[in-house]
């Protein structure tokens, strides 16, 4: 083939770019330890959510020293629990599943962002360094009320979080069980 010398140079430059981009991503995965949402969780059918040990009662749970798990159920057009309260400076794993259609669970202004697909569970482990308040949105179109689907994430100072937990334990009986069936009624998108 008759390829001009400059063009050969550009092919070499292009390969440098491509390999450089792949190398950066690899560094992010191996060097920085960024993990992708993947197939690590067992599938969970939407009609098994209510009986599921984790998602039957969506909640924040302490599972170890400075380790928390958050079980989130998304449905048209809300997240449970809402708001979600977690402590700063702790390892927090969000497990998210969907009761109906495809949603997302996206903590706005952070890289904590996943698709939520019915039948699957998304898992993300993150650590918030500072207390703060974040909006959670669904960024995948999920029906007529899609734009109303939002939640709140409150990251508390670790000590304040302790105190809140103790208060909550005191009036655990007062927690109202959320009835998702009434909440999803009126969604015209589902067959």
């Amino acid at each position: 083939m008759n390829i001009h010398a400059y063009e050969r140079l550009w092919v070499a430059g292009s390969m440098v770019l491509i390999v450089g981009f792949i190398a950066t991503i690899t560094y992010g995965a191996v060097g920085l330890g960024i993990t992708m949402v993947d197939d690590g969780e067992e599938p969970l059918a939407p009609d098994e959510i209510d009986e599921d040990e984790r998602f039957g009662e969506p909640r924040v749970e302490e599972v170890g020293d400075d380790e928390y798990e958050v079980y989130v159920v998304s449905a048209t057009f809300f997240f449970q629990p809402d708001p979600i309260e977690i402590p700063a400076e702790s390892e927090v794993t969000f497990y998210v599943t969907s009761r109906d259609v495809i949603h997302s669970f996206t903590v706005v202004g952070t890289n904590t962002n996943t698709m939520v697909i019915p039948g699957e569970v998304s898992a993300m482990t993150v650590e918030f360094d500072e207390p703060g308040e974040y909006g959670i949105v669904c960024n995948e179109y999920c029906g007529a009320g899609h734009h109303d689907m939002e939640g709140e994430l409150i990251v508390l100072d670790p000590e304040e979080f302790e105190e809140r937990q103790e208060e909550n334990d005191d009036d655990v009986d007062a927690i109202e069980v959320f009835d998702h069936r009434t909440a999803t009624a009126g969604n015209g998108e589902l067959p």
């Binding site: 083939m1 008759n2 390829i3 001009h4 400059y6 063009e7 550009w10 092919v11 292009s14 770019l17 491509i18 981009f21 792949i22 950066t24 991503i25 992010g28 960024i34 993990t35 992708m36 949402v37 993947d38 197939d39 969780e41 599938p43 059918a45 009609d47 098994e48 259609v101 495809i102 997302s104 996206t106 706005v108 202004g109 952070t110 890289n111 904590t112 962002n113 996943t114 698709m115 697909i117 019915p118 039948g119 699957e120 998304s122 898992a123 974040y134 909006g135 949105v137 669904c138 960024n139 995948e140 179109y141 999920c142 007529a144 899609h146 734009h147 939002e150 709140e152 998108e189 067959p191």
Partner: protein, 582 residues
Amino acid sequence: MTELFAERYPEQARLVRAALLTSFVALGVGALFGLLQALHRTDVLRIVESPTYYTVLTGHGVFLVVTFTIYFLVGLYQWAVTDSLDRGPVNPRITWVWYGLMTVGTVLTAITILAGFLDDPPEVLGSELSADVLFTFYAPLQGNPLFYVGLAVFVVGTWIAGADWFRTWWAWKGDNPGERIPLPTFMVLTTMIMWYLSSIGVAVAILAFLLPWSLGIVDSVNPSLTRTLFWYFGHAFVYFWLLPAYMLWYIVLPKLSGGRLFSDPLARVVFILFVVLSTPTGIHHQYLDPGIAEGFKFIVMTNTMFLLLPSLLTAFTVVASMEHGARQRGGEGTFGWLRTLPWRDPAFTGMALAGLVFAFGGFTGIVNAGMNINYLVHNSVWIPGHIHTQVGTAVALTFMAGGYWLVPQLTGNRLVGRQAALFQVVLWFVGIVFMTNSMYRAGLDGVPRRSAEPQYAFDYDISLGSMAELDAQLALGGVLLFISTILFLGIMALTWRNDGTEPVVDGRIPPALSGPEDAPRVIDDLRVWTALAVVLIVLAYTLPLVAVASRGGLFGPDITPLPVAVDYWLPVLADLVGASIG
């Protein structure tokens, strides 16, 4: 003798005109919907109720990226095959059959979408006549069965169109044994091979799952599976929009610049790379999907990054061809030659600006291709920013500019309003800069896409400027783009009716500086590249598809057990691959 396409091939010109007319009607409706969205999202003006926004959004997507782009493609490709092989189709009736099928499909799908505007849509085939499912139609969102039927009929129409072009080429080959495939025809054939290989995915998603499900024949579907099948098709789909624009950049832009294509062999290599790499990359749209292993995502990421190569090669070849024109026109200096290019020609300027926007949009595509960085941009308004620089400008503006060059040759009429046309393409460029500047920046700050009211209880943390400023830019950009579209359609309508005039353009395409004789013959052996593409697709997709199907079951999370899925799926896949080669 005349050089005008309309006089050499009146029957073909009629078909190309019909295709472009359909394309431009869709452009007008789609652009109006785009304007409504730009004003609604930013809360400047809300004419429809927010739930109806999604009807508008579905129409905007389907009419622009399916109807506008693909009708332009079939028109352009019909022209390219006829002109470069210098012969019409073997059976002109077949040509009208595929045009008719595509149109029946379009009308069916359009009816289901537009019925979403009715307060009380009628019942058709057992469900409400509407399809507010966006152009990705992710299950379990469900449209009326006619929506899926329309899409399937449309796709079958495009398959027959491809077969029609292959048949013309085979006939030509019989008359011209041993000749190299003319470059425009080579581009058409390779594009269609890519289309056959990839559209199988969406055909299976629709015919095996979504249509039976919407008709109530099966109770449920596996949303991960139909989504994965959609994206098996979905990324090659974006190249289906792009490759006709590439054809105009390689074939027409050098001529408009006053030069010749720099390298015919490299143009062929570029199209081959698209055949080989476009499909085994689709999972990069699913980086944040649960249920797909990180390893699969990484493999797809490397494939996607290598897909940069054909576009980077194109940047060089096309710019070098323009420089050749500029030098022949007397251009001097390292950058001074840019001034001697024919900037007063709307066809040239439109394509050149489209290429410039594509160069920037290419960068945002690299970000989208990067696996872990997808957490930053996934489903934020950055993504429609990318879509609007690429298909919304690189493709759409190139098509409009191409229209200024092609339509006079198809109608035999002189282009009306050359100055207005120049203004139109520049206005598009300005509009897209405002709109996508807003989208990219807002996306990086986490503003979501596809939302009728992206104003929530919390405030966005805008790193530069303010949300009000970003909204203003988006709305302004949308208005400018709409005005530009109307101007384009007006110029086209007047040109169409400008009877009794002579066009100033001619259809002669100068030969490439480095012609096909410089390329090894294997380049023209389409079977080799098809086989290679199939191998890569099987490698990239067999395991993910089996995994997704067995995790959730073929027809939903709790219906089909795991072993059945694997047993069922492998032969199905093998059959599909076999069918695509044969």
